[in-house]
């Protein structure tokens, strides 16, 4: 299969000091949906803007379908559609006028009316951009990315700040683009988005890729299938956190927010043993639950931090 996007040893340094991107290699196949997953400030946006040809890397190479930005910039622009993290559109133009305007920049654009229909913006076609809701505005942003009939779609946090219904609508649009043979590169800090949409992901932190693979594979490899979580305390009310790795079927023990997390393959074998041990040691067992391991757990496992720590400040950094 064709390689749509390839980059080697990509580095971006600001002011000669800060490494926003510290050596990233990617190879994204045509028709694939690829996700860059990482917390804010991990270097996702810098990476995607370098791939989009909007930023020049300090060092490293980028190829889109085998072409370089320096030599084939205009041609590559015809082939890609972009949704920036923050897209400005003229507030006093209508949906229809914006789409026509962006269509006029491409040699072979799609028909505006079809795009408007596909984005469910038909009712709003004559409305000013300033009057649209957040979800409608974001669909219009995607419409401006799709109107050139691109082969690759770059989406930088496409669903940030949207309500669940708008997010699902956008996911469907992205899936539809992919089903027509389009390639998608998106950045996100939503785990569910990456799990649902992406064929492969790379987890980015501090400007480096720290793990890559399909979401299921990453979860399986790094966190096992299932997680058992609970809190225990002795008769004095003190938390007891030691000696849980002796239980049958436990791959790894971690702690998080005072809870103990056991990575296991077969909960039905581990839980009875856990109950027995607790009783035997005279411990109180609370908040016992099992759940599917997620990319969040993968990220915590890899970095010791939560993906959205900066958004939900109550997460602690104790999962060493």
């Amino acid at each position: 299969m064709d390689v749509a996007i390839r980059c080697r040893d990509l580095k971006k340094t600001y002011d000669g000091k800060l490494h926003a991107v510290a050596g990233i290699d990617l190879e994204i196949k045509a028709g694939e949906c690829f996700g860059l997953l990482g917390p804010n400030g991990a270097g996702k946006t810098t990476t995607i803007e370098i791939l989009e040809g909007l930023l020049a890397p300090t060092s490293g190479e980028v190829e889109i379908f085998g072409y370089r930005w320096k030599t084939h910039g205009r041609q590559l622009r015809e082939w890609i559609g972009i949704s920036l993290q923050e897209t400005g559109l003229s507030e006093r133009l209508t949906v229809c006028e914006i789409i026509d305007l962006y269509a006029s920049f491409y040699r072979n654009p799609r028909r505006s009316d079809e795009i408007i229909e596909e984005m469910s913006l038909g009712e709003k076609a004559g409305s000013w951009v300033g009057k649209l809701s957040g979800g409608q505005k974001q669909r219009l942003v995607i419409a401006t990315a799709l109107v050139g009939n691109p082969r690759i779609l770059f989406l930088d946090e496409p669903t940030s700040g949207l309500d669940p219904q708008s997010r699902r609508q956008l996911w469907e649009i992205i899936r539809r683009f992919q089903s027509r043979g389009g390639t998608v590169l998106l950045t996100t800090h939503y785990m569910d988005e990456a799990e649902r949409l992406c064929d492969r992901i790379s987890v980015v932190d501090h400007g480096r890729i720290i793990a890559s693979g399909s979401p299921a594979l990453l979860i399986e490899r790094l966190c096992g299938n299932k997680l058992i979580e609970f809190v225990t305390s002795n008769k004095l009310g003190e938390a007891v956190t030691e000696d849980w790795d002796g239980l049958p079927g436990v791959d790894r023990v971690t702690q998080e927010n005072g809870k103990i997390l056991l990575s296991v393959h077969e909960p039905h074998a581990t839980i009875p043993a856990l109950l027995a041990v607790a009783q035997q040691r005279g411990l109180r067992l609370e908040h016992l639950a099992t759940r599917q391991a997620s990319l969040e757990d993968v990220f915590v496992h890899l970095t010791g931090r939560h993906l959205r720590e900066d958004l939900n400040g109550n997460y602690s950094q104790n999962a060493k």
Binding site: L89, F105, R180
Partner: protein
Amino acid sequence: METTVKMQSDTLELELDEPAQESLLPVMLAAQNGRWSGYWHLLKARVTELRREPGVVFWIFGFPLLLAVALGMAFRNKAPDVSRVAVIAGPGADHVMRLLRSAPRPELVRADVLSETDAHHRFQFGKYDLVVAAKGNDSFVYEYDSTRPESVLAQLVVDNQLEIATGRKDTLQSSTRASTEPGSRYIDFLIPGIIGMNLMMSGLWSVGFVVVDMRQRKILKRYVATPMRRSDFLLAISTSSLSLMVLGVLPLLGCGIMAFHMPIAGSWASILLVSAAGAFTFAGMGLLAASRTQKSETANGIINIVTLPMWMLSGVFFSYEHFPEAIQPLLKLLPLTALNDALRSIILEGASLRLQGFRLLVLSFWGGISFMLALRWFRWT
């Protein structure tokens, strides 16, 4: 772990794995775009936006008109100034009043009889230009302020009137003619100045401010992520502003002709050509001011710094000949001075374009340098 649980329940409702049937159809392509389609659409979008921004229309067309009309009314050829005189109440006051009424031009003086304190008080506050006290029948004391021109004038007028009324005979036979001919009044001086000022303001604002605003709102960044030709964008912004600016000249000239009977001595083609040169200059300066500015507040300041000195120095409201002779050659190098001088000489004196060579050179110098630097320095993000 609430977040994870909630997100999982979100995804459970989804049925994304079902193939979306209609999506497998090929997309419908529109007609292929030509070389200039981007430019035309950018131009159309710009004009549409302007039309939907009522403020822009007001500042470019309405405000200068209002200014011209207001100033034109204020400085309309009114009757000669009336000197306001306070006559101090006393034995001679009636005599003074009688003499002033019997003088050959009593309309030049409006006199009131007031108590001494009142008279001085009001004189100090500028309500009266002159205080007259009668000392006996043929002896008067004038009190005036030598720093106030109208006060000096009042003293001369009143003294003259009283002298004639008491029997002075003029030995010279002189006559006067007031210059109120259209073409040589203040309003005729003012309108070309306002046209020049308006070209400067609309050039800097409609190009400079708009570009910075689009950069700040990341609209420019989104544009350069498409195959749009960057020159098309700059061209569309410049041409839309240029045509708007030159159009803005017409209502001002129209107002001068209709409301104030201002004669247009020179040719309309020359006027429009000089206006276009001015528009080019100030659009270039606007683009330069905007070439790297990130915030509209900064653009605001830069534009004010550029325009304020020219408001005052380039002869918009009053002639720059009031300034010391030494700096006048420098003032003539300012683009607005060149534009105002050229407009006045064509509109008022009917001068030909050939005589505007130096002024057009000044304009194209500023415009050319500005455009060149702006294009070199321009940042899209």
